[in-house]
């Protein structure tokens, strides 16, 4: 995958594959390819949220650093999904850390230029935000189920 251009990857990535070629070309102009080694951080809590990550291959841990304990992983995101929506909510900072657990490839889209593009082309903005909402909803649903502690002892349910 790392031999491909962002435009080629966007054509097959589940997040963007069903956008028009023209939409994808607009996104590709704001995109670069990045490769992370295990334990590299894609983004860190408190830093400015400047990018949107489409994970192509690998595994990313969304986590929170707890002083005295270290990183506490909360969910993982695998190839085919996306990481980070704080860039939409400007001016913003990342609320969590995202760390590669395996060698990970991502298409990284510039957040500020994405926001400008959405103002210029609201329809494209809506299509991307709709997809992003789907990712957010799936992640929220998963987090709610995790909260239930379904596999805990019966008395704790």
């Amino acid at each position: 995958m790392s031999g491909h251009t962002p435009a080629e990857i966007l054509a097959s990535h589940p997040f963007t594959a069903d956008l028009s070629e023209e939409d994808r070309a607009q996104l590709a102009r704001l995109a670069r390819l990045a490769v992370y080694d295990p334990d590299d951080y894609l983004l860190r809590e408190g830093q400015p949220a400047t990018a949107f990550y489409l994970i192509v291959e690998g595994l990313v841990s969304i986590e929170l650093f707890i002083p005295g304990h270290g990183p506490r992983p909360l969910q993982t995101v695998e190839g085919g999904s996306a990481v980070g929506w704080s860039w939409m909510l400007a001016p913003s900072r990342w609320e969590f850390d995202a760390r590669a657990l395996e060698r990970t490839t991502a298409v990284v889209l510039d957040g500020e230029r994405l926001r400008d593009l959405f103002i210029e082309d609201c329809c494209l903005g809506l299509r991307v935000v709709h997809r992003l909402l789907f990712v957010v909803a799936e992640r929220l649903k998963a987090a709610r189920l995790q909260l239930l502690d379904l596999y805990g002892p019966p008395r704790e349910l």
Binding site: T76, L145, Q146
Partner: protein, 286 residues
């Protein structure tokens, strides 16, 4: 394609337990062990994957427990038991050489004959892997009868993963796609964190929905969300099989303890297609 049939309990009197001796005991997690039981006479109680036995601890009581081992091993049974109450605590505390009474097998198992020629998607949550392990062992023993075989398994934490040796063996197999996830972990865990229904999206390319038999077992909420994910992708309701648990007494379809809608889980289940359960699923339990 043929439906599995619930084998009638063997022996003259299905109320009388057959004595088995504990011949092996493997600790799986802090509260769960797998017991290997051997019949002194060498005659087993042949079962189908997905069926259950009533295990009787002398002087304490009797509980339904799924068969978790390979079927068709004469005189040998495997059961994975989690200590949650008086009887299961005693079962978990049994040692080699102890005796346990066994009645069974009961109920209908997984539709492994029906699944021949189909993709098989196994979705297990927590202890739900126990009856599915038995199914998987049989599928792997006859691997060429099935198309793609995918196993999705979710546990509470890495320390709660059952059958670690099996998992690492299954991970190596090129003819099996295995994904494991946990609900919570510390930073030493390098695998996935999240709920098991969410794994279905990751393995979409490994199954053709209309030609997939899904075998699902776990807590009811997990099964509900799993069914939805399968339905969204077009797996037909009559090819989604769930294993249900209800409190049981006779296990013979007589006492009504395990009733679910018009069905008795001990006799018509525990494994049932979702198409049969769907009309009753709005009763807030699957």
């Amino acid at each position: 394609m043929r439906e599995p049939t619930g084998a009638p309990p063997p022996g003259a009197n299905p109320y009388i337990p057959v004595p088995f001796r504990v011949s092996g005991r493997r600790r799986e997690t802090a509260d769960t062990v797998t017991l290997r039981l051997r019949s002194p006479s060498g005659d087993g109680l042949p079962f189908e994957p997905g069926q259950f036995m009533m295990l009787y601890v002398f002087g304490v009581g009797e509980v339904p427990v799924s068969a978790s081992g390979a079927p068709r091993r004469a005189g040998i049974l495997e059961h994975t038991v989690r200590a949650v109450g008086p009887v299961t605590r005693r079962l978990v505390a049994l040692r080699r050489g102890d005796w346990v009474g066994v009645r069974g097998p009961f109920g209908r198992g997984w539709p492994l004959a029906l699944a021949e020629g189909f993709d098989v998607l196994i979705v297990a949550g927590g202890l739900g892997l126990a009856p599915l392990r038995s199914a998987l062992l049989q599928i792997l023993a006859q691997r060429d009868r099935y198309r793609q075989v995918t196993v999705l398994y979710g546990a509470r934490s890495p320390a709660d993963l059952l059958y670690r040796l099996d998992l690492s063996r299954w991970q190596q197999r090129p003819d099996l796609e295995l994904r494991v996830t946990v609900d919570r972990a510390d930073e030493r865990w390098r695998g996935q964190i999240g709920v098991v229904p969410a794994l279905i999206a990751q393995v979409e390319r490994h199954f053709e929905p209309a030609r997939t038999v899904a075998l699902v077992c776990g807590p009811e909420v997990m099964m509900r969300f799993t069914v939805r994910e399968l339905q969204k992708r077009g797996v037909p309701d009559d090819l989604i099989y769930l294993s249900l648990e209800r409190n049981m007494k006779c296990a013979l379809g007589l006492c009504g303890h395990c009733q679910f809608g018009p069905a008795f889980i001990c006799k018509d289940g525990p494994v049932m297609p979702f198409s049969r359960l769907a009309p009753f699923s709005e009763i807030r339990e699957l």
